[in-house]
Symmetry: C2
Subunit: 249 residues, 2 copies
Amino acid sequence: MSTILPFQAVTHEPGQSRYAALAAALKARIVRGEWPPGSAIPAEQSLADQHGVALGTMRRALELLSEQGFLDRQHGRGTFVKPGLSGAPMFRFFRFGEGGDAPPQSSILARQTQAAKAEVAAALGLGPGEAVLHLKRLRSVAGQPCLLEDIWLPLPLFEPLLSPGHPTADWGDLLYPLFAQRCGVHVHRAVDSIGFGQLSATAARTLKLPAGHPCARVSRQAYDMSGRCIEWRHTVGDAHAFHYTVSIV
Amino acid sequence: MSTILPFQAVTHEPGQSRYAALAAALKARIVRGEWPPGSAIPAEQSLADQHGVALGTMRRALELLSEQGFLDRQHGRGTFVKPGLSGAPMFRFFRFGEGGDAPPQSSILARQTQAAKAEVAAALGLGPGEAVLHLKRLRSVAGQPCLLEDIWLPLPLFEPLLSPGHPTADWGDLLYPLFAQRCGVHVHRAVDSIGFGQLSATAARTLKLPAGHPCARVSRQAYDMSGRCIEWRHTVGDAHAFHYTVSIV
DNA sequence: AAGTGGTCTAGACCACATC
DNA sequence: ATGTGGTCTAGACCACTTG
């Protein structure tokens, strides 16, 4: 009598390597939530036995998922599902005075549901007119306003953020941990698009800058582990505070 | 009697893996010029025999150098030393009208030797006052001037570019292939630093824009395979033509 | 001491490019 | 047909972390 090997048979296209098929199967188990973000997955040898492959082949699959940002391997400890992005990634583009020490403050200026306009629907992969949550947010450093953000979130998913029981004043200074705690949404990767323009009159008033002042514009699409776009964000800030470094290889 | 294995003994620190030491040894042979850029290096099995390691270990070393951009592996053909960057990488930051089709034109406005000022010397890793070649260069698309560049090159190395026998009018539209052909310098990687400001009066005149017009500033340090900085470049262009996309993982 | 991931070996066989 | 890099195996042993 032989032990049951539940994941041994992996669909394996002719042009696809075994380890790539294994990686896809493991990724599906991660995305499905079988192992929550931050938790450990079984040991290499155990997974190799489960799938009926050699240890080296399973290691190739795990290394692939690690390169793709789904897993975090730690020598002697184990292999863990990567938690979502949590830092203050927008501040990589701006340098405000003494921002290195103090964490940037955040205040929500507006929170309302909307029917998605064409641009927002396209960015989020929704049909036009579907319900979205719109946030207007001001970020400040040492009491000085510096970034103004418009954020759109697809709505059945982010409904917990509409609860009157959780006033926006209590949200804290980072949104992504809030998304994870309240809505179970983990931001896995993001794409930022950078351009320049002038501040509108209303934006200039909020940022305490003259109307028409040059500004940097950053548009962001954020995605969860399944590849679904879960945030569309538009940020403006003083062009003179913008600074970014790129490595070209 | 045994065959001589010239590279078998690799200095191998306790904390260093065998394949990392092999990669460092191979990189040294590449940097030294033993295999010129674009040429094939020996087959995996041959290198493994030379160094007295198993095939899989040599493959790890070669894959590492491939990830680092030193080698280009091609299934069925061989492993090749990567040629330097050759494209028009500055145009990744700007979108000018119909620039997709026509290659950008280049004209050298000035070419002269200088004693390196502090900022230039620091960027190139020279002592202050060492001799550098300074170029001023205008790039145009469809006859419209769009980018103005100041370029500093360390001087014993780039002396061939001073030859009166090669007038700047014959240099063509890309500098990096010129560096490779005339000076044997191959650009392996570059670091670009982006900021925003206003055009100076003279820059505005050259670009046919009003003085004080908002502009994007890109400062570049370019490095060869040995890690030496071989170019410091400062580029300005109309801020409204700037556009860039970043993936965050 | 036990369990984890990291390194290395010595082979077999496959897929691709070229002559 | 030959030579190249790509995949996979089945083991051994090492290095790191934790109880």
